[in-house]
């Protein structure tokens, strides 16, 4: 190969640099740890299964927002038949009273900064 003595080391350095995050992560043994969430002490169950909630809570909140504001619907029926108000502040946050250790714990870790709290009033927390 023409100029192989320059091209080959250059390629090796280039590959090393672009794969830096991968092997650095492996070598430094830092692993992603799911944050530990403060769950409400006095409540046994969420309105939906935890697994679904973890993946779909944003869709649910969006859905509630449209149903409440635009369609005038107020209540949400859980799978067990229990009725809940479709409200972030009055339903979700009345159980999950600690926003810092519940919402923010995951959102900060994943660099997601929803602007819900610019309007909705966060509960004071369990402090």
């Amino acid at each position: 190969m023409y100029n192989a003595k320059y091209i080959m080391p250059g390629l090796v350095i280039f590959l090393g640099l672009i794969t830096f995050p991968l092997w650095f992560n492996v070598l430094s043994c830092t692993r992603y740890e799911a944050p530990k969430l403060a769950l409400p002490a006095d409540q046994q169950e969420c309105i939906i299964d935890t697994k679904v909630m973890r993946a779909e809570h944003m869709t649910l909140l969006n859905d509630w927002r449209d149903k409440y504001v635009r369609d005038g619907e107020v209540t949400f029926t859980a799978a067990n038949g229990k009725l809940y108000d479709m409200s972030l502040m009055n339903t979700c946050m009345s159980c999950h009273t600690n926003k810092e250790q519940f919402c923010d714990a995951c959102h900060t870790k994943n660099s997601v900064y929803p602007y819900c709290w610019e309007c909705h009033i966060a509960p004071r927390g369990n402090q």
Binding site: V69, R70, G72, E73, V74, F76, E118, H120, I121, P123
Partner: protein, 268 residues
């Protein structure tokens, strides 16, 4: 079979007539849908309501101005609304208001002047008129403000408002306020209602006839605070308190000549 020019023209004419006729039928149907003579076509009430929710097909308000002689009562109504909805107190041109008071001349710009002094010096509670034909809804480019088809309330979707303020320009009653700043610093944190959100910088807000209270079976906050000076009810129901008041007292509405058909009536 060969087509003569005469046959082709006959066929083209027939096609043109069919298309024109079908468009006319469509246009008529649309006009019938859009027609409003005070009685909107019945729309089904939303599902998933509380059992005690208040239902109406055209919510309206009657304000007995004769009973607003005490400035304390005026303040009580304003406080009830503004504390319930976390409306910040800002003085000057950046003021936010959902319900406020004004003089006769400011309120009824197209009615008679030189009335009895007692009338001209009265305070008139002003708020969003929840018009049957709301210009704010017509101009909103994002449909953030909309009229609820089932009960006639002109509602704001704060999530969708982009703060263009077309609605403020369109509203002939000045019933809309723009948040020039983040309202939180202007609110007393100890008095904030944690059950109702504040708004963010750059959105328009206004009176919503307390839709969140109606859904819980409660009357609007100002009505509750007014000691009976403000009546609230269904204008489509002849037996409602508002219709009885309208039938027995002389009432006026603001700027009726503009054709917005306000749902707020004033007993003079």
């Amino acid at each position: 079979m060969s087509k003569t020019r005469r046959d082709f023209l006959k066929l083209a004419g027939a096609c043109a007539c069919t298309v024109a006729a079908s468009q006319l039928v469509g246009a008529n149907a649309q006009a019938a849908d859009a027609g409003h003579g005070g009685h909107a076509p019945a729309v089904a009430q939303p599902a998933n309501q509380h059992d005690n929710a208040l239902h109406g097909t055209h919510w309206g308000m009657v304000i007995d101005t004769k009973r607003f002689t005490d400035p304390l009562l005026v303040q009580k109504c304003m406080d009830a609304c503004h504390l319930t909805h976390n409306v910040p107190k800002i003085d000057g041109p950046q003021e936010l208001k959902w319900i406020w008071a004004a003089s006769y001349l400011e309120t009824f710009t197209e009615h008679n002047h030189y009335l009895p002094e007692s009338v001209e010096q009265r305070s008139f509670m002003l708020l969003c008129n929840h018009c049957e034909n709301p210009p704010c809804v017509r101009v909103c480019p994002t449909k953030a403000t909309f009229k609820r088809a089932w009960d006639g309330i002109v509602q704001m979707d704060m999530h969708r408002c982009i703060g263009c303020r077309f609605c403020m320009a369109a509203c002939p009653y000045g019933a809309r306020s723009f948040n020039f700043n983040n309202p939180r610093p202007y609110l007393d944190e100890t008095k904030m209602n944690p059950d109702y959100p504040t708004r963010m910088r750059g959105v328009v807000e206004k009176c919503t006839f307390c839709v969140e209270r109606l859904a819980q079976g409660l009357m609007p906050a100002c009505v509750e605070a007014s000691d009976g000076a403000i009546l609230f009810g269904d204008l489509d129901d002849p037996h409602s308190s508002v219709r009885k008041a309208l039938a027995s007292k002389f009432t006026v509405r603001r700027k009726v000549s503009l054709g917005t058909e306000p749902s707020v009536y004033y007993i003079i």
